[in-house]
Symmetry: C2
Subunit: 138 residues, 2 copies
DNA sequence: ATTTAAAATTAAAATGGTTATAATTATCTA
DNA sequence: TAGATAATTATAACCATTTTAATTTTAAAT
């Protein structure tokens, strides 16, 4: 587990307070936050941070592969987990849960048969989570 | 293959010119268009159509399950193909290609093990398409 | 075919998330 | 510590999408 300083050095990123706080938050909280959630969280540490900085930093992280971006409906979410994985999205409570994925080889094989080189994939599974299944007895 | 009149009747949709033209375009052209592409295409048939109508109609179609919506990066795309399938997205030329998917049972099974009921899935595979692979010899 | 009520469309303005701008401040390297 | 570069800030601008209110069209009944 490398520390922030090392990671930023590797990516030629200056160590600034906004970047450090945003990085720490998004890596420590696997909640797939919106930009606003990131902003509100980091604001507690850096009261003067601006929204523009949150977007700038997140976009820079995405550019460097430190963060992933995706949409749930019309909402843009950010994900500090860059290890390939899949998402379960609850259609009732909106929760997004990470899950391992073992089907990458199959996908890659199928793609190669079609002449494609696979660089990345995104698999979202929409449904009802266990908690919502329980609480819908009414 | 049902005709538009029948489909709209089933969905309790009044038969209006904008709806008919948008429906015909999006079902006949599997190009995963943006709202603007739909607007420009339908404008050829209905010069006075407004952008608001394109959005209203597309949203109504989505609500009724006649059309699906997804994002490629920051761009919103619409898909008249509502049969479950996957998308190959070329990172070079931007093309989005449909493909069959036979792994639904596996996904459904894995989800059930976690206590989830699967309603829908979305699988995007990002890579380089055969055409772009050829033309990148420079 | 007319009439009427409900629904859909239109043009325009408003909205909201995101990005661009220009000035200020912080970071890094020497 | 100084100077050059890069990042941050506040603000304004942007642009895709939605809302609003007036007008037009549709569907059903006469």
């Amino acid at each position: 587990m490398e520390n922030i300083e090392t990671i930023f050095k590797e990516k030629h990123l200056n160590l600034t307070k906004p970047r450090i706080e945003i990085y720490k938050f998004i890596k420590a909280h696997p909640i797939h936050p919106t930009a606003e959630t990131v902003y509100r969280a980091v604001q507690k540490k850096l009261p003067n941070i601006s929204f523009a900085t949150v977007y700038n930093v997140l976009n820079k992280f995405i550019e460097l592969g430190l963060v992933k971006e995706f949409n749930i409906g019309k909402e843009t979410r950010f994900d500090g987990n860059t290890v390939p994985h899949i998402h379960f999205v609850c259609l009732k409570c909106g929760k997004v849960e990470d899950a391992d994925f073992s089907g990458y080889d199959k996908i890659s094989e199928a793609a190669q048969k079609r002449g494609w080189d696979v660089k990345e994939f995104s698999l979202f599974i929409y449904g009802i989570c266990p908690q919502c299944k329980k609480s819908s007895n009414h």
